[in-house]
Structure formats: C-alpha cells, structure tokens
C-alpha cells in the first residue's frame, strides 16, 4: 500500500541551509548535505531543497550543490527556487535532482509546464503554489508571497495539472509559521479533485496536525521545515505516532 510521505524542507542560500540549527548529532547543520543525509537516516521519505539565493552565481552553485546532494542522499529530492526555463531544469536533472518545482515563472508563462512535462515527463514537474485566503477564497500569490493575483489557487492548480504538472506543492500563507495546523479546506479541495498527489505545506505545529492533513484533507504528503529543524518534532516519533493512528507510513 502506498504510504503518506513526510518531507522536510531545507531553505538554501549561497549553498548553505538557512534555518538549520539545534542539532547536536551532526557536525554542520548549515551544510545541506549533512542535514539532508541526517533526515534521510531519520526516515524522511523525500526532501525538498528550496534555493533562495539571489545572486548571478546562483545557477552554477545550485547545480554543484545538487550533485553533492545526489551523491550522498539515498532518497528522492526536489529542487525549487527561481527555476524559469527548460534549460534550468535540464541542468538540475542532469546534476542529479529527481524533481524540480516551479512557482512564479510557471504562473507568468503557463506553457512552461507543458514544455517541462513534454521534455522530462510529468513525474518530475512539481507545481508550487503559495496561496492566501481572503474575501472568501484562496488566491495565488507570487514572488514568495509578495505579489497578489486575482486567480484562485484551485483554478491555477487545475490548469497546471492539465498542462502536465505531476504534483502540487501547496503552501498556505495564512497558516505558514503559525504552528496552528495545515489549511485543511484548500488542501482537501485540491487533493480530492485533482488526479495528482498534493503536498501540503504551512502550519505544522503538532503531530495531530499531520494526522488531520492526511485523514481529513487527504493530502498525499506533508512538508514542514521549522519543527524538524528545531527538533520540536522528530521524524521517527512522528511516523510512529501516525502509524498508530492508522496512517500508512514507511519504516
């Protein structure tokens, strides 16, 4: 039986993890490879590396980093952040990434999703959506949540899936950082109406929140950063809890 997935997210800037702190048992929590390998060993099902570097050297640094990750981590990983062309993706996949995620660039030019799916297959194209609930609905935000659009998250997700996106990574800006739980309603709407896996992100604070997002919202995977990086929740303990609660997990 296919399991639900637990995915730690690592923010990367200039080749270093941004939030990684508070780990006695690894030498350098700022090293994405060490932290990634540590999470893999702890039972993480996948990893997401989100590059927030803004410099011109970005592309080259990222490709080198991806190769180092691929050499050292024995579970699948997705790379996202500033990807805007077939060429970008080709470099990252050839460096060893299993999937890539696109966000703003795909929204601004939706044909990018068709191009990527056509060239590399839907299985490696993750569409990331940042969304905020206001005036009665969930709207797409761009540029890391700084720019509002008038398009509803569900409509954009649906279009992107038709164009070939193989997975949706949905982040609720209302919930992100609150530790009050995932956005169950929009996650459920996407998960139940789209025929691709949905990764829920934003708001994880307790183990129950993961149970809810899997059971109530029927998310296929749940992503979190802070609670894992600060060891507020350990992956092994979380998976044991979820398994006891009846959520299928890999051990």
């Amino acid at each position: 039986m296919l399991t639900k997935r637990i995915i730690p997210c690592l923010d990367i800037k200039d080749g270093r993890t941004v939030k990684g702190v508070n780990f006695e048992n690894i030498r350098d929590a700022g090293d994405p490879i060490e932290l990634g390998a540590f999470y893999a060993e702890q039972g993480a099902d996948e990893l997401v590396f989100l590059d927030i570097t803004a410099t011109n050297e970005r592309r080259k640094t990222l490709a080198e980093l991806v190769t180092r990750i691929a050499r050292n981590v024995n579970i699948p990983f997705t790379v996202g952040g500033g990807i805007s062309s077939v060429e970008d993706v080709s470099v990252l996949l050839n460096s060893g990434a299993d999937k890539i995620s696109v966000n703003t660039s795909a929204f601004k030019r939706p044909e990018l999703v068709d191009e990527l799916a056509g060239e590399f297959g839907s299985q490696c194209v993750v569409l990331a959506i940042d969304t905020r609930f206001e005036n009665g609905d969930w709207y797409v935000y761009l540029n890391g949540g700084r720019i509002k659009t008038e398009i509803k998250a569900f409509d954009w997700a649906k279009e992107a899936v038709q164009r070939g996106a193989g997975e949706i990574l949905l982040t609720s800006m209302n919930n992100d950082g609150t530790k009050q739980g995932f956005a169950l309603d929009i996650t459920a709407q996407l998960s139940q109406n789209l025929n691709v896996p949905v990764i829920a992100s934003g708001g994880a604070g307790t183990m129950e929140h993961f149970k809810d997002v899997f059971e109530i919202a029927q998310a296929d995977a749940a992503l979190a950063a802070t609670i894992f990086h600060y060891k507020e929740i350990e992956i092994q303990a979380l998976k044991t809890y979820l398994y006891k609660e009846g959520v299928n997990m890999r051990f």
Binding site: L2, A70, R71, N74, I75, G121, D220
Partner: protein, 197 residues
Amino acid sequence: MKTVIIKYNAGNICSVSFALDRLGVNAVVTDDPEEIRAADKVIFPGVGEASSAMRYLRERKLDQLIIGLKQPVLGICVGMQLMCKHSEENDATCMGIFDVNVKRFQSPVDNGLKIPQIGWNNITGLYSTLFEHVPENSYMYFVHSYYAELGSDTVATTNYVINYSAALQKDNFYAVQFHTEKSATEGQKILENFLKL
C-alpha cells in the same frame, strides 16, 4: 569487475551512477556495443516515454544487443517496461524478454488513487537472489503510470489499483519497477545483491 550503465534517450543515469558510487563501484556510462558486451554487469535504467525509447534503441540496434546479453542485466523502471512484450504507452512493441505486457493504471479519482503513483510502496512475494536480506514488505520508491502485469517471471509484487509486477526475473535478466537507486538502505541492498551475482 566492470559494470556498465546503458546510455540512451530515457536515462536516469546520474542517480544510478551515484548510487553505485556509494557502493564503491565506478560504472561506465556507454552506448558502445563492444563495451556493453564485454561488461560483467549491465544496468538498463529508464525515466521517460516507452515508444520513443524503443525507437531510439532499435535505430541503434541496442534492443537486439540487450536481448543477446548473457551476463546479469538489471532493468530499472522504464528499463524494466521496455524488457516486457508490449507497452500501452503509445502502443510500443518492446523487447519481449519477459512474457508480460505493460498497461496503464486505470483509476477513477474518487477512489483516492492518483496517476502516476508517486511514493513508497511495499513489495511482497520476494523470490529472487536480488532480494537476499531484503525483508518482505520492504518499502521502495515508485514513480510510474504504467505497470507490468503479473506473470511467471514475477519475483516481487506490489499493489496499486491492482497487483502488478514490482520485479521480474528470467535467466540472466533482472528488472525492478521501483527506483532501487533511490530507495534508501533496502534499495541499496538490492543493487548490492545484483552486483554480487
């Protein structure tokens, strides 16, 4: 010992090659027939579309080369599907090493099963030296929309929508649907077992 990874237009070559690196094996990535024939172990990976992959292999006569190999060969994911008889993915006639067909998962959205299957699923009925010291119900990482049916060459089974072949074996030909190179410690064990054949 010399291990080669067959280079063609549907490769997930660097993941496989990195996984072999972790096992201390430096594999050669090549499409040179002589080099492939001379190798001790041959790995046939794959991420991509079946019909265009078969066309590419046929144009270079790599399909006949693979069928004629006598040393242990390991197909992975689409590589495994191409070793079957036929694939529904754009009606591709495949190599026919394994006596099963490849079909598309048929799943209505309301049963909660999505296409492609992406993620970790368990393998059962393990019946091959590939799985030595790999426990029943180990979880492997799958990413696929098409599956190989069950047949007499099935040596591991997985359930998604229906029961299908997670692994096939016939004579010197071995194949796994899952990405053993990305399947954590157990996946690594399978690669190691293959290298020890």
